[in-house]
């Protein structure tokens, strides 16, 4: 059954992500290191570097995919992805400012990125509330694009005025990376993500109805206004955390929902969990490729997801229109 295959591939991807890396380790050494045995460097690499990294990549990939699916239903647009809401621009601006101003602290960049994202979320939300307190999803989209573009312009300005080294570092951060992931990050993100994911999953049925349109959804029992707000807030907060912790990694939120729909259909009750697993597989796999492809040089993970994502998307488009 499809679920068994999906779960099996997910586990396999995680194992491969731990077993493979720019540093060549024998499979036996890896297995032993997970238990804590073997050379200290190997144990260190496997337990302190590869394991948390693989897990975080999986969690972030899954979160982005679920968010993408929910947003596509919310704005009734199959081209929606988590970054359409402008918050990637806000997060990028926060991070770049933190880098340019040499903000102190090991968590400075993620913290500033999160704040930037939250400000962008609030601004877009405010813009999208029209007369009568109704959240207009078309204005939501437009506001997201506008806020994102504005933030991107500011990012460009900051980078233009920064020395070359900061520019490069900032650009690489923006392109996404799981370098430096610690168990702390995994636990914090994991604990934080549970709530928005649960909220989105619980809204599975209303999401199905929302795809019909606001009025039909309302007459089929949905509190449309409440639902829109809840979805927007949950999706934004989840994406903000993902961006804060790993930069802007594109295509996962856009492509995975469509790939999953081809096999699992549109019912969000099954679509969302499948999207989570497939998103995790994609991102954990992409991170492995990013580390290994040109070893010892690492690629930004966003590059790999784009290189994989674009052809996949092209194939999906063809299936869609036939």
């Amino acid at each position: 059954m499809r679920w068994i295959v999906l779960v099996a591939v997910a586990i396999a991807t995680l194992l491969v992500a731990v077993a493979l890396g720019p540093v060549h380790l024998g499979l036996g050494d890896v297995v032993r290191a997970i238990g804590g045995g073997g050379a200290p460097t190997t144990v260190s690499i496997v337990r302190d570097l590869r394991l948390p990294r693989a897990l975080l990549a999986f969690l972030v990939g899954g979160s982005l995919a679920v968010t993408g699916a929910a947003l596509q239903a919310l704005v009734r647009n199959p081209l929606a992805d988590p970054y359409l809401l402008g918050l990637s621009g806000g997060a990028g601006l926060g991070a770049v400012l933190a880098l340019a101003l040499h903000a102190a602290g090991a968590w400075a960049v993620p913290a500033w990125a999160a704040i930037g994202a939250l400000l962008a979320i609030a601004l877009v939300y405010r813009l999208a509330i029209v007369a009568g307190g109704v959240l207009d999803t078309r204005i939501l989209l437009l506001a997201g694009v506008v806020v994102g573009a504005f933030a991107a312009a500011l990012v460009a300005a900051v980078l233009a005025l920064s020395p070359a080294r900061e520019v490069r570092g900032a650009l690489l951060w923006l392109l996404g990376s799981f370098e430096g992931t610690s168990w702390g990050a995994v636990i914090v993100f994991g604990a934080y993500a549970v709530v928005p994911l649960a909220v989105l999953y619980r809204a599975s049925r209303p999401l199905d109805l929302l795809s019909l349109g606001e009025e039909p959804a309302r007459f089929l029992g949905t509190n449309v206004e409440t639902l829109k707000r809840v979805l927007y807030v949950a999706a934004s907060l989840l994406t903000a955390a993902a961006v804060a912790v790993s930069g802007i990694i594109g295509f996962v939120g856009l492509v995975i929902p469509h790939a999953v729909r081809l096999v699992w259909g549109h019912t969000h009750r099954t679509l969302l969990p499948a999207a989570f697993l497939l998103g995790g597989i994609l991102l954990a796999g992409a991170d492995t490729v990013a580390r290994v492809a040109f070893a010892p040089v690492s690629l930004p993970v966003g590059v790999v997801t784009a290189v994989v994502g674009v052809p996949v998307f092209a194939v999906l488009l063809r299936r869609w229109t036939t």
């Binding site: 109805l209 089929l220 549109h266």
Partner: protein, 294 residues
């Protein structure tokens, strides 16, 4: 006992930033088991009144009760278990099969994450059969014709197993065959199953032939409420639609024929028409008053 599904008493509503009320001091009751139509020209407030009855809008004046409770206090899921609404136009974003689309009508009955059970599947099958859409069950909704899509949506409303079926301009744009099929279906359901039916339409003639009662709205006010014979008079219609008409009986039901200029010249009171009896205007509005059910 007066079992009123919907009861509007002196209800008014004004949209934000509008100059006038969209609905003004309308009183109307919809009894259980009847088939009633809300009719009137564009902009007469039919759809607004419907939204007030369904609790989507909160009245600025007067009271609206649904099943005995203030309409806007109803939990939407609870209401969706009792009232099925088919709107005029619907454009889903994602492709679905007909059976899945009809199954959406079961959602008001399902707990948040519970899957569809055997009872739900039976309800879907029954709804498809009743709406004569069983043959369409495995088709993609994007491949359906206008009439077929409408039938599917009626099936979805039936899958809700409602007590009340509401069609909001749902047959506009359908050809004769499909329109008649849908209306016959609704009339059958009202007659056989004791459903209550509410049709919102601007096709007065068709409504008159199916319904027990007719409420004509004119610029937000109830121009006349009663049986088709009572309501469809030249006096009322020429005032509301502002056009000369002739009433022609058809199997006991009055049918409205809009007159052409040449025909109006040969009618009973050409001078009256030309003198402004059907000129309409704001001054005529106060004559419409509140139509009482009985």
């Amino acid at each position: 006992m007066d079992d009123l599904i919907f009861a509007a008493r002196d209800v008014s509503f004004r949209y934000p930033r509008a100059d006038t009320d969209a609905v003004h001091a309308v009183s109307l009751g919809v009894e259980r088991g009847e088939l009633i139509a809300l009719a009137g020209p564009n902009g007469s407030g039919k759809t607004t009144l419907l939204r007030l009855l369904l609790g989507v809008l909160i009245p600025s004046g007067g009271v609206v009760e649904t099943f005995g409770r203030a309409a806007h206090t109803w939990d939407r899921r609870a209401l969706a278990r009792r009232v099925g609404v088919v709107v005029q136009r619907e454009e889903p974003v994602f492709p679905l099969r007909v059976r899945e689309a009809v199954a959406l009508g079961r959602y008001p009955h399902l707990r948040p994450l519970a899957p569809l059970g055997p009872k739900d599947r039976e309800a879907v099958d029954a709804a498809l059969a009743r709406a004569d859409a069983t043959a369409l069950a495995d088709r993609w909704i994007g491949t359906l014709s206008g009439g077929e899509w409408q039938r599917v949506r009626v099936a979805r409303a039936l899958a809700q197993e409602p007590e009340v079926l509401v069609l909001d301009e749902a047959t506009a744009g359908l050809d004769i065959r499909h329109e008649m099929e849908v209306l016959e279906l609704v009339a059958d359901l009202v007659r056989e199953r004791g459903l209550t039916g509410v049709l919102v339409t601007h096709n007065v003639n068709l409504a008159a032939r199916f319904v027990d009662r007719l409420a004509i709205l004119d610029r937000g006010r109830a121009a006349a409420v009663g049986s088709p014979a009572e309501v469809l008079t030249r006096d009322v219609l020429e005032r509301v639609f502002r056009w000369p008409v002739e009433i022609v009986p058809w199997h006991g039901v009055p049918q409205v024929v809009a007159l052409r200029a040449a025909e109006a010249a040969g009618a009973a009171d050409p001078a009256g028409w030309q003198s402004g009896r059907v000129a309409g205007g704001a001054g005529e509005a106060e004559a419409s008053g509140n139509g009482d059910p009985e």
